[in-house]
Point group: D2
């Protein structure tokens, strides 16, 4: 098979349990009012979910589930798999099956250059020649790696050994299951937003509130994992609209 | 409200995601054959799930969810809540709502007497007079407790203080979400089965296999939590028939 | 044995691994500078730990451990055990050993009366007669319960059945192991502090900063579990002084 | 810096809390005998720990901690990081620091050829020419990758982009904290042992017991992660001798 150079990620929703009402039912068992959710107005529902989010009452957001099937390069999964709580992972095995010849290359809009210090990098566009050269160099590396991989397999080298020189930009596939709470934890860490609060220029006893939203705890995710997170954020927003609205309003803090 | 003495437990299935096919899909992404599940025969599915169970490959059993609403006494929940992994809990709050006057009493078939040493108790029936006296004594305690609880609330004592003398046999309500893997962990610990393997009487190099099933690692659960577990086991068996069959066949070991 | 009425809680440090330097070492492996921690100034250490805390980089706070032995009533443990992540629990068993005749009663400074709505209660002192009556009533309940418990055991009723009428204010004992991260999660939820931020009275685009500290996400813990949390907070502050200082400064948000 | 080809792994013990006595103390709080551990004989201790292991009573094995600093290639960490429970991870960052030019190559005793079907591979030695060619090919790939990496960095490409073509055999560094329970889970999955039980050749109602030990649930780990696991197994055996002995005796089942 020929090498395909890809810059896309897939995060297809495979299965779903629950919605905003599930959140409310598990919340309201605390006062034995879980049977009343069906009769609540949207406004009452919104109020309750905002109360949970504002106060970081997290457990009611766990009684639901979303399963995604995703395709992404290994260097993205390396970060993704560091989420341990409230998530389940099954991934394509480099020991039991041959990789497909899919290699990631950055799309043209992916910032290539970092400025600043570790922990506070700013990423900016590269220039056209940088990008062109990088593409060429990545394609060259992929071709060398893939040719070696194929040749090793032909020489009867075990899959798990043959793959050792494949780059971290080779694609893999994964089933990932989370719940609304672990999804919000993922989104809070893997999306980049302006700060919701910033120091007041003249008054030490005040913080300026960003009226357009923003994150209480801004994160600095890698571009590629943010692309995956943003796609899943859309799915999440559709599946749990009131929960998502409250998440955004309260500064994208995982409850 | 008058006191109700109850000996029942409820474990109603509220929500469900996934089935045996979900297990197979997340398993088969390892060899990129997850798209073939729809075309597999039952026999092929059974074989794959048996392979997972026998080898204790646990993660494919996590991409699904079951939510239960249960009612049980506090001393049962005290054990139930010790399960931490792959489970979510929301419970009726003694701080935010008044308890209902439901007190647990053992049913007539609940063994009342323990024999043997801690860690190896055997439970046997009490005699009729023991049971009758115990019922009377439990009802007396419940009445004293409930009267105090009501009087404290009338005297403007906070809910969370008023409840301090209520017995651990008062009922509470809970939403509990698990997946097939955490359910099997719960069942393996909270149901009592004969040993699947026992020492051979004459041959030290052999173990006798119990042909009627049994547990590789027999547990000694409390009668009441086993009643809850057995009810959920039925629900689980219906929702994941091949998984459940493999669980039983392979000695009720959580994968 | 005679009944003892107690109002205290014990949270004795049994074992400890790690300190602020452990946090720094595991943080600095990210840039392969973990070998330099021994040579860092206190100021440099403080700066690094503040960076972690402010940005909610949580994992470096996990490579350490604290084990406590505690004694507290069951209604406190009921809340305590709801913490599932990064904690380990072993507790005295009501099935395998006889309870000691220790019953909790609120001390004189424990607020007895709640005002307001569920989720927003304010607790205020009771009056002297309320307190006196409550003490009397709690002692009465404890005596009835303990007499029944003893009589049931004498009548050969199993421990796990005999205890069913014991109140949730009976004491139990526990080993609890956490790490600095799960400790901070516990403290953020189980201590009550003023809000660090509150709405500006006239300017919607500002938040007022509480100069005396406070919590970004104020919690409303039960008085008794806060007493336990505050005692462990002292232990934690001693064991991880820079981490604790950063935790307080940044609004008691668990990283 | 010149490329170094390595075939070793490091798993240095950095920090430790607890020992077999910690296991016993947390176990014995169940019967309020935790204060008696200091006076127990080794034989009594062994008996208790065997009881825990045999019955899979897991929680007493959690009140302790081991921190390791390890160096291993990324394809090993990809498996290692799939352990989510009772473990903490901090790893060298490819976004914040430059990789060191350390590439893994299989040592001469590493089986190179797989036989059989996925899920049941057997690995056998390659022949000398296979090995020689593979070494050459891996060195070639590493040189191409490292030259590209260096050139990209010189061309001002961000670290996180420059590294995208590096092979999964490049080394990384990690702090990893576990406890005795999560360590045994790791060992049970990441070491290969003969089966402790196998079907009796003629008697369906019996299983043959392997007198030399073996695993109740044999695993098929990758050679490289087993090398890491075996090194940590030695550390664990020294730190928790009775626990380790019971683990081995009872078929290397994680309790």
């Amino acid at each position: 098979m020929d090498i395909t150079f890809r810059s896309d990620f897939t995060t297809d929703l495979v299965d779903q349990m629950g919605d905003d009402d599930s959140v409310l039912r598990s919340m309201l068992v605390s006062t034995l009012k879980d049977g009343q959710v069906a009769d609540m107005t949207d406004s009452a529902k919104r109020g309750r979910i905002n109360f949970l989010m504002k106060g970081r009452h997290g457990t009611p957001f766990e009684h639901n589930a979303l399963t995604f099937r995703s395709e992404a390069p290994i260097f993205v999964y390396r970060e993704w798999h560091r989420h341990r709580i409230g998530v389940s992972i099954n991934e394509q095995s480099g020991r039991y099956t041959e990789f497909l010849p899919f290699f990631y290359v950055p799309p043209i809009n992916r910032p290539l250059v970092q400025k600043g210090k570790p922990g506070a990098y700013i990423y900016v566009e590269g220039d056209a020649s940088q990008y062109a050269w990088l593409m060429q160099d990545m394609e060259y590396n992929a071709k060398v790696q893939w040719a070696s991989y194929q040749e090793r397999l032909e020489n009867d080298i075990a899959l798990e050994v043959a793959r050792m020189s494949l780059g971290v930009n080779i694609y893999s596939s994964m089933y990932w299951t989370c719940n609304a709470r672990s999804m919000m934890s993922f989104l809070s860490l893997r999306t980049r937003e302006e700060a919701k609060l910033s120091p007041h220029p003249t008054d030490d006893n005040c913080m300026v509130v960003n009226p357009d939203g923003g994150a209480m705890f801004p994160s600095k995710p890698m571009w590629e994992i943010e692309a995956c997170a943003r796609a899943m954020e859309q799915t999440f927003a559709t599946a749990f609209p009131l929960t998502y609205e409250a998440f955004v309003e309260h500064g994208r803090v995982s409850p």
